[in-house]
């Protein structure tokens, strides 16, 4: 009864309309609302099966080493520490340490940050172009350890980080691998799962930010309508009211998402007639993959709005979202971390990576759900305190700002 009223209140707002528009724009512009052009067929021999990232030491080691030498020579390293481009210049001490790393990898000597090429009579020093080659004696494990040191010196997010090393290793997909991929999609994803995953990849970007706007709107609505005290004085418990409002935001965000997920998925069902499909895949993926992002976004929105009485939650969630989306660019192929907001998997056929990363993804989603529920409980406590006049949020902030302004004007006088 109350839930119905709260859902009605939630969806009858401009914020919700903006959310629906954003959702439609994202799904249509990224071609994930209609997959009829993206049919996964059994590979034919001799066809082009595309390329894939694969950890091939023979490819990674010379390419990464060569790149490191070039950046060392120019003393300018490209890095994306939190997803944003950064040009790093090392100081003399770090440059010397980097020279040590190159020296270890190549066998060339270094002195005061310069690589000395040749060991006996023909000694030449250089700080510009250097011509050193990777030593044959270096194992892949040693190489990776050196690259990690180099990445640490640069400050992380460089071309030599564990993740980015794979960017040096693209190989063609073989016929056998293509068949293996196809079989995995058919057996594990039942086809529909692969499409649902790609849908979630794009829609997650919207769903990890927009619920904060909806939640903030819901929470500020009472104060804007001067209805706070009418509601505070009611019999209903703070727990029931906050939880109902929270679920109304979740339902309002998830319902159109599930509908769109099915519209997107149904577009390919006809292409796989006679095959075993998982018709629940859109539901499973939207709930398992997307709902935790919606939950945390809404929880942050409600918590900070009730705490401060201001829309500051939008800035907080917006910052997290912005960093996460930028960091996520380096993990598009479906690599996950424990604290990511919007997991990425920007490929239709990369089922093996999904299976390999599933445990991390599941742990991430559980952590996010746990954090969201904790924030909701904290919101209930704050709301109850506000109802009893023990916490005023916005009024406190207003009083403090007025106090500061008074002090300033007094000191100016």
């Amino acid at each position: 009864m109350l839930l119905g009223k709260e859902i009605r209140k939630t969806v009858l707002s401009l914020t919700f309309v903006a959310f629906i528009i954003a959702l439609l724009v994202m799904t249509i512009s990224q071609d994930v609302l209609n997959f009829s052009d993206e049919v996964i067929v059994f590979p034919k021999q001799g066809a082009d099966y595309g390329i894939q990232q694969k950890e091939v030491p023979e490819l990674i080691m010379p390419a990464a080493f060569s790149s490191l030498c070039e950046e060392f020579a120019a003393n300018e390293y490209i890095a994306y520490p939190i997803g944003f481009y950064k040009s790093v210049k090392l100081n003399d001490t770090d440059r010397e340490k980097m020279a040590d790393i190159i020296s270890t990898l190549s066998g060339a000597e270094q002195e005061d940050g310069s690589i000395i090429i040749g060991k006996d009579d023909e000694v030449s020093e250089t700080k510009g172009d250097i011509e050193v080659t990777l030593s044959d004696d270096i194992s892949y494990e040693e190489f990776r350890a050196c690259m990690k040191q180099a990445d640490d010196l640069i400050g992380g997010g460089s071309n030599y980080s564990e993740n980015n090393l794979l960017n040096y290793s693209y190989v063609a997909v073989t016929y056998e691998e293509a068949i293996e991929n196809y079989n995995l999609i058919a057996s594990k994803d039942k086809f529909t799962g692969a499409y649902a995953r790609l849908f979630c990849d794009f829609v997650g970007i919207i769903l990890s930010i927009f619920p904060v706007f909806i939640a903030v709107t819901v929470c500020l609505k009472d104060r804007r309508a001067k209805m706070n005290e009418l509601i505070y004085a009611r019999k209903t418990s703070s727990f029931k009211l906050i939880l109902t409002r929270y679920f109304s935001v979740i339902i309002a965000a998830m319902l159109p998402t599930i509908i769109l997920a099915y519209i997107s998925n149904i577009s390919v069902w006809g292409q796989y007639s006679g095959m075993s499909l998982d018709y629940l895949a859109p539901l499973k993926y939207t709930i398992g993959w997307l709902m935790p992002s919606v939950m945390i976004s809404a929880a942050i929105g409600m918590f900070f709005t009730e705490l401060t009485g201001t829309p500051i939650a939008i800035a907080i969630q917006g910052l997290w979202w912005f960093i996460d989306i930028n960091v996520g660019v380096s993990k598009l192929r479906g690599v996950h971390t424990l604290f990511e907001l919007a997991p990425r998997h920007n490929a239709l056929r990369n089922t093996q990576t999904f299976l390999d990363e599933f445990n991390t993804l599941a742990a991430n989603r559980l952590i996010i759900v746990g954090a969201a529920l904790l924030l909701v409980i904290a919101t209930v406590i704050i709301y109850e305190q506000k109802r009893r006049g023990e916490l005023s949020g916005y009024e406190t902030i207003k009083t403090h700002i007025a106090g500061l302004a008074n002090r300033k004007s007094k000191s100016a006088a």
């Binding site: 009864m1 109350l2 009223k5 209140k9 009858l12 609505k221 309508a225 001067k226 209805m227 005290e229 009418l230 509601i231 505070y232 004085a233 009611r234 019999k235 209903t236 418990s237 009211l241 109802r387 009893r388 006049g389 023990e390």
Partner: protein, 299 residues
């Protein structure tokens, strides 16, 4: 006691320094009870404390035998109309009432019946499908009373309900309050003496957080007997009189001015007047040493 509000030694501070309520002692029984005081006297603080929206620092309050600390039980039996309120502007009257009825925990059938009854009582039935944003000030106040009565409360707290209403709406609102006070305690907080005069048998005067008077209206009037005078004076004498007496009313008639003033001792040739509540209220403020300067500027 089952049907009364008992307030003992109530203190409330805002921050560390500002004392909003100071040792307030009150017993409020069934019927209309007026709480009179100027703006900032502490009326709203007291109303909010009774409605469980503010926490007291010390003292005790029990409403119909339930200690104020038991907020959940108190909220079941209290209806509250705040001073500055509204409702979701895009909701219709019936939707807003239904929403608040759900929050009061009233079942569907009973809720529908109560809403119909209350809208009829406050004369809003024909406007029930009007959006809140389209209501006049008076209609909004009447809707406010209706929402406060949704849970059929034993105690109704109304804070400055007639401020900003036109005379007709104000009279209509007072009558409405009298109607609903027959079976419950109604506390009317106001700085408008006319509201108390027209509706309440008992009242308290609150000033700077302290109770100056608590008792019946007739007792209050008795205290002002023989202390209110009127006289028609020459305009030239006005500045002198303003310094000596607390003038509470005057109007010009050519070169003469008719004045009404408070005095412990009569002024020569002044006529003793029948005091009204406003006179008695001003006398209490005057005696407490907190009366504002009422005589206007120098002429």
């Amino acid at each position: 006691m089952e049907n009364c509000i008992e307030i003992k030694e109530l203190n409330k501070f805002y921050g560390k320094k500002k004392q909003a309520l100071s040792n307030v002692n009150l017993t409020i029984e069934q019927g209309m009870f007026g709480l009179l005081g100027r703006n900032g006297a502490g009326k709203t603080t007291l109303m909010k404390t009774l409605a469980t929206l503010l926490k007291k620092q010390s003292g005790s309050i029990s409403i119909c035998g339930i200690p104020i600390e038991n907020a959940k039980e108190i909220r079941k039996i209290v209806g509250y109309l705040p001073q500055d309120f509204s409702m979701y502007p895009t909701m219709t009257i019936i939707e807003a009432m239904d929403y608040l009825g759900i929050l009061s925990g009233i079942g569907t059938k009973e809720r529908k019946e109560r809403i119909d009854l209350l809208l009829k009582k406050v004369n809003l039935t024909e406007h029930k499908n009007k959006k809140v944003k389209a209501l006049s000030g008076g209609m909004k106040r009447r809707l406010g009373i209706a929402q406060a009565l949704l849970n059929d409360p034993k105690v109704l707290i109304v804070d400055e309900p007639t401020a900003g209403l036109d005379p007709e709406e104000r009279i209509r609102f007072r009558n409405l309050l009298c109607d609903v006070s027959e079976e419950r305690i109604v506390i009317l907080s106001t700085h408008i003496v006319g509201d108390i005069e027209a509706t309440c048998e008992n009242l308290a005067i609150l000033n700077e957080g302290s109770i100056l008077y608590c008792g019946t209206v007739s007792d209050l009037l008795d205290t002002a007997n023989g202390k209110v005078f009127s006289k028609t004076v020459d305009k030239r004498d006005l500045p002198k009189l303003k310094k000596e007496y607390n003038i509470i009313g005057m109007h010009s008639q050519g070169n003469k001015t008719y004045i009404r003033f408070l005095a412990e001792l009569p002024y020569p040739d002044a006529e003793s007047c029948e005091p009204n509540i406003e006179d008695a209220y001003m006398l209490y403020l005057w005696n407490s040493g907190t009366a504002p300067i009422l005589s206007g500027g120098e002429e």
